[in-house]
Structures are given as C-alpha cells and as structure tokens.
C-alpha cells in the first residue's frame, strides 16, 4: 500500500495508467473488427492493432517495473544518507524553468491557437492573423513593448504573410466577413 502511494505521486503514474487504458481500448476494439474465415489471420484488419496493443502492454509493464525499482532504490539511498537535500533541489519538475507568469503566457497562447482557428473561418485569414499576432506578442512582451510598436509589427507581418500565402502560394483560406 505504501509502495502504491509512492507510485501514485510520480509523474510516470498517469502516463502508465494512460498506456494501459490505451492498450486495452485498442485491443478490445481490434477484436471487434470483422474476421473473415478461411483466410490468413494477418489479412484481417484487427491483426496488426491487436499485436501493437499487446506489445504496448508489455512495454508499459516493464516501465512500471522500472518505476518501482527506482522508488525502492531511492528509499534505500535515503536511509543511508546522513543529510537530505532540500526537496526543491531534488528533482526536475514538470514545469522546469516556468514561472507562474510564463504558465499564464502559455495558457493564453494555446487558447489563442484555438481562437485563431475559429476566427479564420469567421473573419478571414488576414484579420485573424493580425489579431493573433497582436494578442500573443502583447502577452509575451508582458506590457514592456509599446502598443503602437506591436500594432506596426502585427500589421507588417500580416501584410507579408497575406501576400506570400494568399497571392503567391494561393492557399485557399476560408472566406470570412472581412479579408
């Protein structure tokens, strides 16, 4: 039980659960694919994904064993140490060098990716590009850059990209309310 609690605390735990779940899902769906009689098994559509899911289960199990061995080694080395390093110096966290501010920047940037996709269909390529560039550069500059500079930057880059992609390369962007 103690070991299980330690495994749950590792960042590998969620991934291991995901891998098992994915393998079981793929295997069960593959087994529901039609099987034609009197033909080689490999000719059926479920053969290959079933095989991959079994391989993934095996690899996930090895990965789980590695995590358990690592936890046990850490326990043993902790008992042998006279001095423990402060917790914040021990391990690299998921967020690494990120601050709370940069996590916000990241969240806004990812959100803007979805907004851009929606805006491109609604307003058109150039308008959505301008809005995307302005908002993301404003967020990332953390209010240190003057707004007029960011507007000039966004307008110029939008103009260049519009000429290159819409006129030269002729990508068929969706038609929106504006350009």
């Amino acid at each position: 039980m103690k070991l299980f609690k330690k495994i749950i605390k590792t960042k590998d735990f969620m991934l291991i659960i995901f891998l098992y779940a994915l393998s079981i899902y793929v295997y069960s769906v593959s087994q529901s694919f039609p099987v034609r009689p009197y033909i080689p098994r490999a000719q059926n559509p479920g053969f290959y994904p079933s095989l991959l899911s079994l391989v993934l289960i095996a690899l996930s199990t090895i990965y789980l064993i590695q995590v358990i061995i690592k936890i046990k080694k850490e326990e043993t080395s902790k008992k042998q140490e006279d001095f423990e390093a402060p917790p914040e110096k021990k391990k690299k966290t998921f967020w690494g060098k990120a601050t709370s501010q940069t996590k916000k920047y990241l969240g806004i940037s990812v959100f803007m990716l979805f907004v851009y996709t929606f805006l491109m269909n609604w307003l058109g390529f150039a308008s959505s590009t301008f809005i995307f560039l302005l908002v993301v550069s404003k967020v990332l500059s953390s209010n240190e850059e003057k707004l007029y500079k960011l507007i000039i930057f966004s307008l110029s880059v939008t103009a260049i990209l519009y000429v290159v992609f819409d006129i030269v390369i002729r990508i068929r962007f969706p038609e929106g309310l504006l350009i």
Binding site: F33, Q43, Y48, L52, Q66, Y116, T117, S137, I169, R170
Partner: protein
Amino acid sequence: MSGLHFFSNPIIFFAIFSGVFVGTVFGALPGLTATMTIAVFLPFTFGMDMIISFAFLLGLYEGAVYGGSIAAIIVNIPGTPSAIATGLDGYVMCRRGEAGKAIGMATIASGIGGMISIFILALFAPLIASFALDFSAQEFVGIALLGLSIIAVISPGNLVKGLISGVLGLMIGVVGIDTISGFPRFLFGRPELNVGVNIIPVMIGVYGLTEMFIQIMEIETTKRVSQKIKNVIPSLREIIELWPTYIRCSLLGVFVGAIPAAGGSIAALVAYGQEKRFSSKGSDMGSGCLRGIAAPESANNASTGGALIPMLTLGIPGDPMTAVLMGALIINGLRPGPMLFQEQMPFVSSIFISLAIGVILMVIIGLVGAKYFARLISLKREYLIPIIMLLCLVGSFGMRDSTFDIFILIAAGIIGFVLRRIGFTPAPLVLGMILGPIFEKNLRRAMILSRGDWTTFVTRPISLILLIITAFVLFGPYISEYYKANFSKQE
C-alpha cells in the same frame, strides 16, 4: 548525371538559395532546430514542382545544420543540437574577439564536409540500392524494426520510453482505412481520417509548436545577447593546415550520419572527441583553436549526406531531419527505397546536384552574411514566437485546406510538450508514424505469404541478420553493463 537537365531552369537555383538562406537564419536562432525548420516550411513546398520543392528543402537542411554554429560561437547557445561541440572552442575564440574567424572556419569546414559527403552519397547510394533490390517483405520488416530500435536507444531518456514512443507512433499509423482489407479503423466518425492521421501537422506540432511552448515557458529566464562581427576569413595557411582534420571528420560524419537515427549532433561530438584524442595537436582543443571548430563542423555537415544514404536507398531515415524529408517524398507519391533508383534516377541525380550547389551557396552566404546573421540572435522572442506559431498554423492548414489538420497540429503540439516534460522525445513517435505503414504492410504480407508462420523472419539470411543486429542494439547496452558489473566484481 541524368538529372542535369532540370538545372536549365533558373528557378531551381533561386529555390536552393532561398532554402540555404532561410535554413541558415533559422538554424542561427537558438531553440529553433533544423528539424523544426524543415517541418514548418515543408507544407509550403507542395504547390511547387517536385524537383524545385526538394531543392528548397535540401537547401533548408544544409543551411540549418550550418546555421546552428553561429549562435554556438557568439553566445554559446547552439542554434541546433549538431552545433553543441562547435561552441566548445568557438565561444572561447569569441570571448577573445575572434568570433569572425571562428565563424569563417565553421563555414569553410561545413562546406568541405558537405562536399565530401555528397561525393560519397553519389558513389555508394546506387550500390546500396542495387543490393537492397533483393529485399523482400521480411527484410523490410527487419529494417523498420532496426530503425525504430536505434532511434529508441539513441533518444535521451531510457530505452523503454523510446520504444513506447515508437509504438505509439505505429499505433497512430493504424488510423484510417486498412489498405489490405479496406476496413475503416479508428475513424471516430471523421471522414478526414479515411486516409489516416496527416503526418505533416503532427511533425510540425511535435517539433515546431512544442518548441514554441517551451520557449514561452522559459521566456523570462533566458536572455538574448549579440556581438559585432569583423574579419570573417581565417588565413590561407590556417585553412590548409587543417586538411587532415577535414578529411577524417568528414568521413566519420558520413559514417555516423548513415547509421539510422544517429544524426549530426552525434557525428559532431564523436568527431570532436576523436580529433582531440588522436590528433597531434588535440590537446589544444577546448582552449579556443580552429581545429576545435573544423572537426565538429566538417562532421555535422558531412552527416547530412550520410543520413540521406539509408533514407534514399532503404527508406529508413538517417536522422529526424531526413525523417521529415522522407515525409516530403511520400507526400509527393515517391517511395524511398531501391525502386526509387530504378524508376526515378533523374530525380535522385537532381538531389545530388542540388546538395552540391547548396553547399557552395552555403559557403558564400555564410562568409558574406555572418555579420548580419549574428544580429538575429538578439531578435526579441515576443516577435519571433508568434510568427513561428503562425507559420505552423498556416502550414498545417495549407496542405489540404483543412481546419481539422490545425486541430491535429495543436493536439500534437500539446502531446509533444507533455512528452518532452516527462522525459520522452518525439523522434521515435514521428519515426513510428512514418515507418508504420511500411512496417504493417510488409509484416502482414510476410505473414500472409508464409501462412502465419513466424519463422519466416529467421529463415531468410538477411532478415535474420537484421533481427540479430536489432537485438544487439536493444540488449547490447544491458549485456555490457551486466558483464562489466560481474567482471569488476571478480576483480
């Protein structure tokens, strides 16, 4: 030389020049890898003639690998992983006020390494391709397994993580209509998935968007600096006296580059280490000498040609960059492998010629433009990041005019970010997606022909050899550790 007639069109020279220029610019910017550069610009080549688009991409490839050395020398931050070793001496020279000379040597050594590798590529690739004509389904299964194993072993993090990443890539490749039975698999009601998950948005996502997310995370903790550059060319004596270094390291670079999944970064580090150990003046390396720049730069640019050998002849990418180039070939309806040399020899010849022209242009652009490229390093990231994100978005959309591909891109970017943060690398996943269709088709074909008998993979000699090499690659490090532990215990 059957591809020479393509070069009567001046547009192809412009394409190579643009590719080298853009590649050098992107390669010089820290954090933007050569793989990301090629992945981001790949979709924009689809409207072009195939020869011209590939000429552009090869220019990007050569320029980006070379461009990484500029940032490595000036600010000790390699623009691309293959420039890590260059900074060891390059940055020391820069602090002495000799940044220009260091960049000049990097340019010249890159040019020489590139030329040697093209010569070897043109000589050996047709030979290997003719040997590979005897390969059947079983051999291609072995090659795919070997490619995936090598990239899993070489990727940072442990082997099991690399293999898991590779299998996930193979699983993504299952989505779509099964080419053998015609049955739809894992479409989730989306007709866009009939032809499978589009590999290009995934590549742009895991290499381009993921990198941008990481740059955003670190935007407050890493600062930009730049330096003025003057006097870019070393003396003639300094250039000529290093000729043994160019030759040794270029040959090493070609060999390492030809090992599937090895790549320029490993080639450069191995060359640096070998030169330091075996050269009579190797002890000077690390203290700011030209040899310390010539060795890794010859090797990393030589590895570009080397990496193309397994990609063109066997359909196994030599490094992540050639994996992206392979995606470009497949999208254009060409299947890399021995049949490419049989059916498309003019196209293959055009690749050799484009690479040679690209190397010459790279040297010219590097020597003339070094001063200006150095200023790029101080470009503010709040401007650069949104531009690159936009290129990723537009590139993904523009391939099939599909908003669905943008969602694939964003999902791939987020998944790539999470994987990177928990110690997985994207290379095995991308390679799994690329090799997946080849692997599945040949595995099932082999099983159908042998009527379900798995021993078919060990009864054919070449297939057996490939499986033994794969097993050695996977288990060799563990056996070696076990042997050392037992051997040292006995001592």
